[in-house]
Structure formats: structure tokens, C-alpha cells
Amino acid sequence: MLSNVRTLWMVFLKMFKKKVTIQYPEKKAYLPPRWRGRIILSRDPDHNERCVACYLCAAACPVDCISLQATEDENGRRYPEFFRINFSRCIFCGLCEDACPTYAIQLTPDFEMGEYNRQNLVYEKEDLLIDGMGKYHGYSFYQQAGVAVGVKPKGGGEKEDPPVDVRTLLP
């Protein structure tokens, strides 16, 4: 009986506390940078597409909502011919971001993607590509390693040694 009275009093005191509700459309809640929301494709510091069309994201996707087709430019650099994410299937698990070797595909803190037409939830490459580098600044996959595709000469990467001249025995 006494604990009931105590409960009443404690609930009454809640009157003078701050409200916890955030009035959503007017005020927005803070979303951390690594929040898993709308998926984007980022570009590297030279403003080229980071995506090398390796299909790892499409393979990792548990609901098969990513589809793409690889192609090559005149230097032999791979890029996706089309890149399509069906957001009506996407479960925002972030496995595609984990799988991506080039930091190209990233999830962003944005969830306001409501559409009246279901077909509008299918995002094409021009909807997904952004101008910036997303969460990972200064990273360029072809500058680190890999084949020469017109970005750097062979062995000219940041963490690469120049190629060994096999015709000399000198160290």
C-alpha cells in the first residue's frame, strides 16, 4: 500500500522533468555517422568512381538487391556499366559496405526515402553516385596497389616498390 503511494508521488514528480519526445518532422534526432541508411557510391580524390565492379557487394547481399554489370574503359580500368539497388528489398544490413574492397559503396545516416510509387525505390547509378568521398577521405584504390590503368605507372603506388629488374643480379 505504501509503495503505491510512493509510486504515485514519483510519477507526479515526472511532471517537472524534461520531455523525452523529439518532435520529429520539425526537429531531427542525431544520427551517428556510421548509421546504416541510404546507400551511396563514392568517388576517389581524383573524382573518379571508386567502384571497380568486382561484384563482391552483390555476392554479399543477403536479399540480392544489388545488380551491376562490369565493363572497362580504354585504359583497362574496370567500372560498372550500370549499378542498380532495389531499395524495396534492401534490409540495410551493411554487408555490402563490409565486402567492398575500395570503400566505394557506403551507407549514410539518411532514412527519409519514402515514395508513393514503388518503382521509384529502384535507384540507378546516377541516383547512387555522389560527388564526394563519403566517410573515407583521401583513399584511392588504384593509388595503393594494382595494375596500371592510367592512374599510376607500374610499381608507382604509395606502398609499392618499383619493379625489380630481373636482368641484373645486383641487390
Binding site: N4, M10, V11, K14, M15, K18, K19, V20, T21
Partner: protein, 318 residues
């Protein structure tokens, strides 16, 4: 002639006033529950959401008034009207201020007890007529609750009646000029408050309804304005019990003269209405055997003891 018009004015005023307060309580309850749960509550319709009541009423009027094919049709329709009628009848004996009373009966308190007990028929009949297991369980709980609180509800008021020597509501208020009855009749106040909560079927004693286990209990099958009648009837019940507590234990319209008597009455009444809402915001519902045990084993002996002691004191002073 003039007196008749005055009487009609009072009747219409009380009817409109009580029903308006009951409808306004929809907003007050939602807002105050929100305040006590650190939420915002309704705040979209109009400034501070005060037109929420209008929106709710419009919605409930335009809902389909569906009568399921398996119900006992006559009783199903009659049941929701009983609670509205019986509680509105009880308001006839409530003196809001000197002179503002519809029927100043010399057995006013008995009339209140009789009418408020009739309200229980609503629950039993609605639960039976719905022909639905959950509704029937709700109705049965309503009946079980009825026999556990009605007993000490009447007895808890007898202390007041013994002190005043009258069942007349105006006499009861006038007898509190020296001291409010909440002081000498504190046990009576507490027991009547608990009985009042049980009588209006409000949380924590909303066993017939108990939405978390019986869907909506006795009014599971009701929709549209019939459901609205239950709803408004519940709020009318809260208003009535708050009025009765104010009159019987807190001096009715009595108060310092810088405010008119009716304002004092309304202030006290709203304080109790808010207390009812606070109860809903904070307490959990007991099992119905717990409620019956509580009523019969603790509160009934307590009220009997209160009547005994009050009688002894009054006799020794006489």
C-alpha cells in the same frame, strides 16, 4: 413562472456542463498522461492540440455503428445507455453551489448510491449480450468487482452521515463550515476514494475492461457511438465521483470568499479528476481475486470500525 425557467436553466446548464466536461476530459487525460510519462501528448490539432477533442468526436460519430450478427441485439443496444442515464441521473442531486442543484432530495446520498450501482448493469449486460468469451469474462469480473466494492462503498459514507445526521447533500456541505470531513473521517475518505475508483472502473481497478488481457473486456464488440457512450460514461463517472468526494469530504463549494462558490467547487473537483488520471498513469492492475480479498478482508472491517467509532464519539458528545 420565473422559478420554473430558473429550474430549467439549471437542468440544461448541468447537463451541458457535465457532458462538456466529460468530453473535454478526453483531451485532459491524454495530455496529463503524456505529461506524467514525459511525452508531449496531442499537439498537432490546433494550439496545444486542444481541437483533438473535436477531431476525436468527429471520428467517433462517423465510425460505422456495427452490430455483430451473433449478439443479443436488444440488450446489446440498451447496455451502453444505462451507464450514461444512471450517471446523469446522479448529477441531479449534486449541489454545485448554493441554489445550483436540480433536486435537493432529503435522501440525496442514498439516491447517488442507488444510481451509481445501476451503472454496473451496463458492464454485466454488455458482457453478456456481446456473446463473446472475452466480453463475458469482462462482465463476470465486473460482477465480482461489484460485490466487493459496493459493500464498503455505502458503509464508508455512513461516518459522514452519522456526523451530519442527514442524507441531504446541501446539509452535508453546510455541516463542514467548521472543518472539512476529510480530517475526522479520514478512513472514510480513503475507503470511499478506493470504492470510487472501483465504481468508475478506472485503472488500477479496470478489471472488466483490462485491455492488456481481455482486448477491451465488456465492450470488445462495440464500435461507433455505442463505444462512445461507454467512453463518455466513464468520464462522467469520474466527474461524478470527484464531485461526491468534494462534497462529502472537502467542503463542496465552501472556501475563502475572494472566489465565487462555484469556482471553489470546480477547483476541488478538477483536482480529484487529475488525481484519477495520475492513478491511471502510475499504478498497475491487481488480479480480481486480489481486489475482492482487499475489499472484503481489509476495507470492509476498516469501514465497520470507522462507523463504530464515529457512532460512539457522536453518542458520547450528544
Amino acid at each position: 413562472m420565473n422559478e420554473i425557467w430558473m429550474q430549467i436553466l439549471v437542468i440544461v446548464g448541468v447537463l451541458l456542463g457535465t457532458v462538456t466536461i466529460a468530453a473535454g476530459l478526453i483531451y485532459v487525460e491524454r495530455k496529463m498522461l503524456a505529461v506524467w510519462q514525459q511525452r508531449s501528448g496531442p499537439n498537432r490539432v490546433g494550439p496545444f492540440g486542444i481541437f483533438q477533442v473535436l477531431a476525436d468526436m468527429v471520428k467517433i460519430f462517423f465510425k460505422e455503428d456495427w452490430i455483430p450478427p451473433f449478439v443479443d441485439k436488444k440488450i446489446f443496444i440498451i447496455a451502453p445507455t444505462i451507464i450514461m442515464l444512471s450517471i446523469l441521473m446522479s448529477f441531479a442531486i449534486v449541489p454545485f453551489a448554493p441554489g445550483i442543484v436540480i433536486a435537493d432530495l432529503n435522501i440525496g446520498l442514498l439516491f447517488f448510491l442507488a444510481m451509481s450501482s445501476l451503472g454496473a448493469y451496463t458492464i454485466v449486460l454488455a458482457g453478456w449480450a456481446s456473446n463473446n468469451k472475452y466480453s463475458l469474462l469482462g462482465g463476470m469480473r465486473g460482477a465480482a468487482q461489484l460485490i466487493s466494492y459496493e459493500v464498503f462503498m455505502g458503509l464508508s459514507l455512513m461516518g459522514v452521515v452519522i456526523q451530519v445526521g442527514s442524507f441531504n447533500m446541501t446539509d452535508i456541505v453546510n455541516a463542514q463550515k467548521g472543518m472539512w470531513f476529510v480530517v475526522p473521517q479520514f478512513v472514510g475518505f480513503v475507503t470511499f476514494l478506493i470504492a470510487g475508483i472501483a465504481e468508475t472502473h478506472r485503472l488500477p481497478f479496470d478489471l472488466p475492461e483490462s485491455e492488456s488481457e481481455l482486448i477491451a473486456g465488456f465492450h470488445s464488440e462495440y464500435s461507433g457511438m455505442k463505444f462512445g457512450m461507454f467512453f463518455v460514461g466513464e468520464y462522467l463517472g469520474i466527474t461524478l465521483v470527484s464531485c461526491m468526494i468534494t462534497i462529502l469530504f472537502f467542503g463542496g463549494w465552501l472556501g475563502p470568499s475572494f472566489l465565487p462558490p462555484i469556482v471553489w467547487f470546480l477547483i476541488k473537483m478538477f483536482a480529484f479528476i487529475l488525481f484519477f488520471i495520475l492513478l491511471r498513469a502510475s499504478l498497475a492492475r491487481p488480479r480480481y481475486d486480489q481486489l475482492m480479498g482487499f475489499g472484503w478482508k481489509l476495507l470492509l472491517p476498516l469501514t465497520l470500525l470507522n462507523v463504530l467509532i464515529t457512532g460512539a464519539v457522536v453518542l458520547s458528545n450528544a
